[in-house]
Amino acid sequence: MTSPRATASIAADRAAGALFRVLLVGTVIFLLLPIVVSVFLSFDDREYLGAFPPKNFSLRWYRGFLDNPAYLDGLKNSIKLALVATLVSTAAGSTAAFVLSEARWRGRGFIEMLFLSPKFVPTVVIGFSILGFAAAINVFDPFTRLVMGHIVITIPFTVRATLASLVGMRRSLTEAAISLGAPPWRAFLDVTLPLARTGVIAGALMAFALSFDEVAVSLFLSDAFTQTLPIALVAEMRANLNLTVAAVSTVFAAVTILVVVLLDRLTGLDTVIGQGLYR
């Protein structure tokens, strides 16, 4: 027989469990529903943002997207920009993280803070500063400017993600490799790098996603001829709001998902995360 108190505590456990499930499902719906709605809207035949769900479906907004050179150029620029920014930011950010995690000197915390600081500076400020800085060093090419800006805003993420994967990594692992005859650089390649892979890849993914949909910094650094997709989108929405925006959003989401899945396939991201760092 169970005591009344035990029964009450079981009931409380169940209630808490139910509440947790409701919250979880609610959060997922809250996160996904707007995207689902915009996917539906992108196939809507109507000229305006009408009641949901749409009555007739068509591909006219996707045709509109393909017919609009501003969007296509924007997409091309965005992908190119995100790739370059991700590459540089991952290489620089991870290297910084490796050095920082080894560092024992004073001021290490300050340097780490510097690397993470773009996260806390308003993007508008970053955008304007880079614009001024680029002009000061005679860089007027908008793409170069955009790359500079996107490296600045993505680097906190690549540094942070790699640092996180190095936390708790025992120094004895590198020392074991060295004692077995590996010069320090070899120990790094054979031991540190493979074990930090999860963090490096996660950082790269975040950097790509962040760069791909960045608006504020790009707004300052792009010009009329070199636009990113989000900038083209904003401009188009201002000029004539129609459901092409929904179609572009859908393409956006699709590209992002594609990148994540692709990287996952290429690197076995899932197995690495699933097995944990030290398996």
Binding site: L173, S179, L277
Partner: protein, 364 residues
């Protein structure tokens, strides 16, 4: 003279103002197993890291098989190092872990496989080639770490607290096994440990380290029975220490709390000497030949299975803990006045460490 497997001469390593190793000298013969034993903070881990090449000495020399290595980078020293946490590469299999050092030396695949099979047999790890370290027990991980270190046929093997990460029951069995593997291999070995039973069980000789210096080197019996310093006496097993003055004739010793002990004529020199008595040499009641008698009152009696520990309060108020066998017919009870007997041969004069407080009453 044959070259030593490992030779440290007056090695000094300072961290800021603190000398972690303060003039340590030690010679390990080729093929010999020596344990560097001491409490945490005594400098033994720093010594190991100096030998391995992870730290550079501020002074002194370190020679492995006759070659000075003090300025040689760690990866060129060819030392097999078994880390306290084993440090197995978590992303590599057992076979890949063992192969790593051989690969770096450019050993061909078939020669590697042969050596690996030999080591897996030696460490009784056959069939575990493709396991990841996480899928192994603590004892197996330790043996993989040992096999990996031995794979490079090291000139010197270093073991850092080899048994400390294992649970108490396993430790005894693995100690015997480890000892067997080490004697099969016959490599010059330095074991760093804070655990005297580990040192006694694994090593041919023990070097007791304290405050960055090596205070005594000898086999387990020598170090236990003829401690060179008060620190060694108190660190190895239990001891009862009396500070006091040695008589002119060098056969009597008057303690600071006015107890008189007769000694056998002693050659021990030095100005600051103390008296060290092992508790198991104290008889209760005294036996024939126990020329030294001390009166005490029983404070408490603790039952520990095979033996009882009788806490006796001397007239000075100091409590000493004396073991007696639990089958002794006359077990005293608290409050009893008892006589303690010690043979003069069992009263050993030992140099006091100037850095240990003179009035401290270490009885355990």
């Amino acid at each position: 003279m044959a070259t030593a497997g490992l030779e440290l001469q007056n090695v000094v390593k300072r961290f800021g103002a603190v000398a972690a190793v303060d003039g340590a000298s030690l010679t390990v013969a080729t093929g010999e197993i020596v344990a560097l034993l001491g409490p945490s903070g005594c400098g033994k881990t720093t010594t190991l890291r100096l030998v391995a090449g992870f730290e550079t000495p501020d002074a002194g020399s370190i020679a492995i098989a006759g070659a000075d290595v003090a300025r040689q980078p760690a990866f060129r020293r060819g030392i097999g190092l078994v880390f306290q946490d084993y440090a197995l590469f978590p992303h590599k299999t057992v076979a890949q872990n063992i192969d790593y050092g051989m690969r770096l030396r450019g050993i061909a695949a078939d020669a590697r496989a042969e050596r690996r099979a030999e080591l897996l047999r030696l460490t009784r790890l056959e069939g575990l080639d493709d396991r990841r370290p996480a899928a192994l027990s603590g004892g197996q991980q330790q043996r993989v770490a040992l096999a990996r270190a031995l794979a490079i046929s090291p000139k010197l093997l270093l073991l850092d607290e080899p048994l400390s990460n294992l649970d108490a029951k396993l430790r005894e069995a693995l100690r015997i096994e480890l000892r067997e593997i080490l004697s099969t291999v016959g490599a010059t070995t330095l074991i760093v440990t804070h655990d005297q039973s580990e040192a006694i069980g694994l090593a041919d000789r023990i070097a007791v380290m304290n405050r960055g210096r090596i205070e005594q080197v000898g086999d387990a019996r020598q170090v236990y029975e003829q401690p060179a310093t008060r620190f060694v006496a108190e660190f190895m097993g239990h001891s009862i220490w009396f500070s006091g003055r040695l008589g002119e004739d060098r056969t009597t010793f008057v303690t600071d709390d006015d107890l008189l002990f007769r000694l056998e004529a002693s050659k021990t020199a030095g100005t600051r000497l103390g008296l060290c008595i092992r508790p198991e040499h104290v008889h209760m009641p005294p036996r024939e030949g126990d020329a030294n008698r001390v009166s005490a009152v029983v404070d408490r009696v603790d039952f520990l299975g095979a033996e009882l520990i009788v806490a006796c309060r001397l007239d000075s108020g100091r409590v000493v803990r004396i073991p007696i066998r639990s089958d002794d017919s006359s077990v005293p009870t608290p409050g009893d006045r008892v006589a303690l007997g010690i043979a003069p041969a069992r009263c050993r004069l030992v140099a006091d460490n100037p850095d240990l407080p003179a009035d401290s009453h270490h009885t355990n």
